[in-house]
């Protein structure tokens, strides 16, 4: 796929390969409460990305020696399904990339969750990439934040992210896979709009101080829309619950509206 693209211009004037402008996000759909067993869950469909997040806890710590008497410990797992990319069938088990993403995602939620309220417990957050097209860690953490709130765990803010990067010498928002692979730079960022803080920042490529400055502004601007979608997803979940309660006939195998 990539080799066909190398000769193509990623950006022509203000138009990107898929027709977007420089600050346009791909289509974004968030659904909260998609899993039955998980305490909280969310599905994020972002462009071609499909990422499922599930949260368990606060619950008893395992293994026990990891227990923190003052706060909850956070475990984050990011994994890509072996069928998630358009390329070959993936290998089983986490690779170094997945472990690193799990680690930086964990730091986001260690900041975001009021862990001091739940000493001697753990919260497990799992992000499963079912389909990938660039920007999966951002989609995953955006989903995980909705899942954490869906689980009823107190947080400082809904956190969300957008990637910003450089293609054809221009800064653009929300890079897809081709733009990430063929472009000059990609920065996944997770922010909290309430505190105006950056909770995750990873950069590769070559950028000037001005690029970084401008890129950050683009991220904070784009994050507003992502946040709106998160809030909407959580509201819709409770509207669904309300409707279910309203016409509650707990008959055998009652069919509920399928969201996934």
């Amino acid at each position: 796929m990539a080799q066909n693209v190398s000769s193509v211009k990623l950006i022509d004037g203000d138009r990107r390969l898929d027709g977007r402008g420089v600050t346009d996000l791909r289509s974004l759909k968030i659904t909260a409460g998609v899993l039955k067993k998980a305490g909280g869950s969310a599905l994020v469909e972002w462009g071609k990305n499909k990422v499922l997040a599930g949260v368990y806890g606060p619950r008893e710590v395992f293994p026990k020696h990891m227990t923190d008497p003052y706060k909850a410990i956070i475990n984050c797992k990011y994994s890509m399904a072996s069928f998630s990319s358009l390329e070959d069938h993936g290998r089983a088990g986490p690779n170094r990339r997945a472990i690193e993403i799990g680690k930086v995602a964990k730091h986001v939620f260690e900041n975001n969750i009021f862990t001091n309220l739940f000493p001697k417990t753990m919260v497990n957050i799992s992000m499963e990439v079912l389909q990938s097209d660039g920007g999966t860690r951002i989609a995953g953490i955006t989903a995980a934040s909705v899942a954490v709130v869906d689980a009823g765990i107190p947080v400082k803010d809904l956190v969300q992210g957008v990637s910003v990067g450089k293609i054809g010498g221009r800064l653009v928002v929300d890079l897809d896979k081709i733009e990430d692979n063929m472009g000059q730079s990609d920065i996944p960022v997770i922010v909290s709009l309430r505190s105006k803080e950056v909770l995750l920042y990873q950069l590769d490529g070559m950028l000037t101080r001005d690029d970084i400055n401008e890129g950050m502004d683009l991220v904070f601007e784009a994050a507003k829309l992502v946040r709106e979608k998160q809030v909407q997803a959580l509201k819709e979940k409770y509207e669904r619950v309300e409707e279910q309660v309203a016409d509650e006939k707990p008959a055998a195998g009652k069919e509920t509206e399928e969201v996934m």
Binding site: K36, K37, L52, S82, A92, E128, G253
Partner: protein, 257 residues
């Protein structure tokens, strides 16, 4: 765990009276859905749900070398992953014995039914197509085998064979749909208080003494079976379950095609 013991007692006491907690009859399935073509980066996919249990099947083809003892055949592999977000009891790590059993039972069903002709997967000398059927358990409320089999067959039913050129697969071009010679359907029975229960949920599974799964590939053909758990079945019980499996097959077939 004390809560599990309470649930077990509850399920058993109800079944003594021939009842189930959710009001179903003993041989009733929960609502079933199969959403084909759920993913775009795969050659075939389906999200199957039975009640609140959800399994996603993704199918990928790869170019590989044939097994040395079968140079004129392609490869088919079934894997399963119990995603930790599917159940509070699932832990990350390599597949455990339950995950391996699930994949192998589904694999046996499809393989013995000769549903996929792997001889057609030969590309050239020393190069064949490998068909990977990955079963992602994303929500576990019991009866994973039947749900996984539905997901696998739903995915195979919409799988397209990718084009092969100059030693590589072209992911966006296809030679045509994958031929599936027979549709495989699995029906599992859990034995609780001496009664065989179809489509047990996770609470019923805790109370179960034994499980029997029959996979069928025709109106009168069984293509795989697996007995699991400590309990036992008599010959008459097994034959009764075979009859029931054929009966249930009709119900499930409509969901795959």
């Amino acid at each position: 765990m004390i809560l599990e013991e309470i649930k077990e007692e509850y399920v058993k006491n109800l079944l003594k009276k021939g009842k189930r907690a959710d009001g179903r009859g003993l041989t009733d399935y929960r609502p079933i859905t199969v959403q084909k073509g759920f993913l775009q980066n795969t050659e075939g996919s389906a999200l199957a749900s039975i009640g609140e249990t959800k399994v996603l099947a993704g199918i990928k083809f790869d170019v590989m070398e044939p097994f040395r003892d079968r140079p004129d055949e392609g490869v088919m592999m079934v894997n399963s992953e119990f995603c930790i977000l599917a159940h509070p009891g699932f832990e990350s790590g390599p597949p455990n014995e339950r995950a391996i059993e699930l994949a192998r039972v589904v694999d046996r069903g499809i393989r013995s039914a000769e549903a996929i002709d792997v001889k057609k997967f030969v590309l050239e000398e020393g190069k064949v197509l490998g068909l990977f059927i990955d079963l992602w358990v994303i929500d576990h409320s019991g009866n994973l085998i039947d749900t996984a089999a539905l997901a696998a067959m739903g995915a195979l039913a919409c799988t397209k064979v990718p084009k092969y050129e100059d030693g590589a697969i072209i992911r966006t071009e296809f030679t045509g749909p994958l031929e599936v010679a027979r549709d495989v359907v699995a029906t599992s029975f859990e034995k609780i208080e001496g009664k065989a229960v179809v489509d047990a949920n996770d609470e019923e599974e805790i109370a179960s003494e034994a499980r029997m799964t029959f996979a069928t590939c025709g109106d009168d053909l069984v293509c795989a079976a697996q007995k699991s758990g400590r309990g036992a079945f008599t010959k008459d019980e097994l034959l009764g379950l075979v009859d029931l499996a054929f009966e249930k097959r009709k119900e499930l077939m409509g969901k795959i095609r």
